[in-house]
């Protein structure tokens, strides 16, 4: 990520911070405190419209996971080629006290994924659009 000038985020509504230190942007309800991702204009829990953007924690724990072993259809995926497809991990990461976020995982080896393992936010190229970045979570050090 040395030359970041030509890279674009998949959706600037989702991701804030910098390319080196990204954050996910969710929302927080001013009435009941419920945190959502992505941003919503009203609270799904109490229906309040007093909702503001909130930068979410960048570390959390893997709540559940799978490995996507077949190529998704395009659209909505951008690449249609089955030949070039590499299996990828998908999981929900529980951001403590906030929300569980669904994301791509940088790890796709089922033997190296387990519920409860620490994870941290990162950015990865969008498959089929290497100039675009999307968010993902990668395994993090246990002791941080």
């Amino acid at each position: 990520m040395t030359d970041t000038r030509e890279l674009q985020l998949i959706d600037p509504e989702l991701i804030g911070g910098t390319l080196e230190n990204p954050t996910l942007i969710g929302s927080e309800c001013g009435r009941c405190g419920t945190v959502t991702f992505p941003r919503q204009r009203s609270c799904p829990r109490c229906t309040s419209e007093d909702v503001r953007p909130r930068e979410l924690a960048t570390r959390g724990e893997l709540w559940t996971w799978t490995v996507q072993c077949f190529a998704p259809k395009a659209p909505p995926y951008l690449v249609g080629g089955v030949e070039e497809f590499e299996p990828y991990g998908v999981g929900y990461i529980e951001l403590p006290g906030e929300v569980r976020v669904e994301a791509r995982l940088t790890e796709s080896d089922p033997d190296r994924l387990r519920i409860g393992m620490p994870m941290e936010l990162t950015l990865i190229p969008v498959p089929g659009a290497s100039d675009k970045l999307t968010f993902a979570f990668r395994p993090a050090e246990e002791d941080q």
């Binding site: 998949i10 996507q68 976020v101 669904e102």
Partner: protein, 382 residues
């Protein structure tokens, strides 16, 4: 009783692949069969409801069935299409607005996984481009978490599919009619960990129609009416873990299935322990495992012993998905919910042929589930 509603006619078009036959045609064939089994004609129907997810508007089938002027409501409600049609017909009959009604569900999907577009589900295009717009991922992640919380084994997932294909082999209307062993299922291609190819149903084709009647018309039309004691339908609550969710709250809530099932039993005045035969949404093996407990048919965690002991097989204490379920019949979205009701009705009437449950069946239950967190349940009795 005058406000009773019962199923008096059953019709099905076989599930599977039927090149050259449209979904609408399959629906009309199922409708004619249901009418014939009730001994009535299309002109005798005074209300109809039905739909498909991807095979057209059900009401256009009047051009095949007859232009009788009947009020016909189109339903398009994802996996709850059949349940919604049934809910509508039940309300019309129970209120006395109609005497004899027909519901129909059909579908015809292309090969391979469904490819819904995020924009149709209120999510940005980023979700699909990132590779998250797949129902299979949700089911895999839900059962992964559940297996850890409740000690469910991969062997149990395979046994659910083994049972489905064994039942499907006895069902002339099923798509997959070859038995598969637990080892073959576990050893098949991995699709989404921990779920393999043969643990998943495939999008397919098929149609089901039911004729329903109220009050005094019931006995005129059926020797063995199957009473629709309740039909309930729920969407998701804040905190439940459902399909196509970019995030889920940490605060958890019962699923749409849990609430729909509880309401169905309460409305019927029947408890889950009274159920003799059940059809449960088995989009994949894990769904059957989890839905068994969400519907109240067993406790959470009890499934491991229940399934390993054969209790959910045809000759077991609680036979589940006796027609092979979605796993063996495939998933034509608009038809599956009514297929479940059709199968329970056959079992309760003792007309399920080679797959007839050997014990006496008086009470049946069905549960359908789909994106983005909808569930419809019925309680049926003879």
């Amino acid at each position: 009783m005058s406000d009773d509603v019962a199923i008096v006619g059953l019709g099905i078009h076989p599930f599977g692949r039927h090149d050259g036959v449209s979904g609408l045609e399959m629906g009309a064939i199922a409708a004619r069969r249901a009418l014939a089994s009730a001994g009535i004609a299309w002109k005798d129907i005074d209300f109809a409801a039905g739909g498909s997810d991807a095979a057209g508007n059900a009401d256009t089938s009047v051009s095949m069935l007859g232009l009788t002027g009947v009020p016909f409501i189109n339903v398009k409600n994802g996996c709850a299409t059949g349940g919604s049609a049934l809910t509508t017909a039940h309300a019309m009959l129970a209120s006395g607005a109609a005497e004899v009604a027909l519901v129909v569900g059909f579908d015809k999907h292309p090969r391979g996984a469904f490819n819904p577009l995020p924009e149709d589900w209120g999510i940005g295009s980023w979700y699909g481009e990132t590779g998250l717009m797949l129902t299979t991922q949700f089911f895999a992640m839900k059962i992964r978490r559940y297996m850890t919380e409740y000690d469910i084994s991969a062997s149990t997932l395979a046994k659910v599919a083994e049972k489905a294909f064994a039942n499907g082999a006895r069902n002339p209307n099923a798509w997959r009619r070859s038995p598969l062993s637990e080892d073959e299922i576990l050893g098949s291609r991995m699709v989404n960990h921990p779920l393999t190819q043969y643990m998943f149903c495939s999008p397919g084709e098929g149609a089901v129609a039911l004729v329903l009647a109220r009050g005094g018309r019931i006995r005129e039309l059926a020797r063995t009416p199957v009473y629709l004691r309740s039909v309930t339908f729920r969407t998701r609550r804040f905190g439940s873990f459902e399909v196509f969710a970019p995030s889920i709250p940490i605060e958890s809530a019962p699923s749409a299935t849990t609430e729909a099932a509880a309401a169905a039993f309460e409305e019927a005045g029947i408890s889950p322990g009274d159920v003799d035969v059940a059809q449960i949404q088995d989009t994949e093996s894990g769904a059957e495992v989890m839905h068994l407990a969400e519907t109240g048919l067993c406790e959470h965690g009890e499934q491991e012993a229940l399934i390993q002991s054969g209790a959910t097989a045809l000759a077991g204490r609680l036979p589940v998905n006796t027609d092979g379920g979605c796993l063996a019949c495939g998933e034509p979205i608009g038809a599956s919910g009514l297929r479940q009701v059709h199968e329970v009705a056959l079992q309760l009437r003792g007309e399920a042929g080679d797959r007839q449950v050997p014990k006496e069946c008086r009470v049946g239950f069905t549960q359908v589930y789909g994106a983005p967190g909808v569930s419809a349940c019925t309680v049926l009795t003879v």
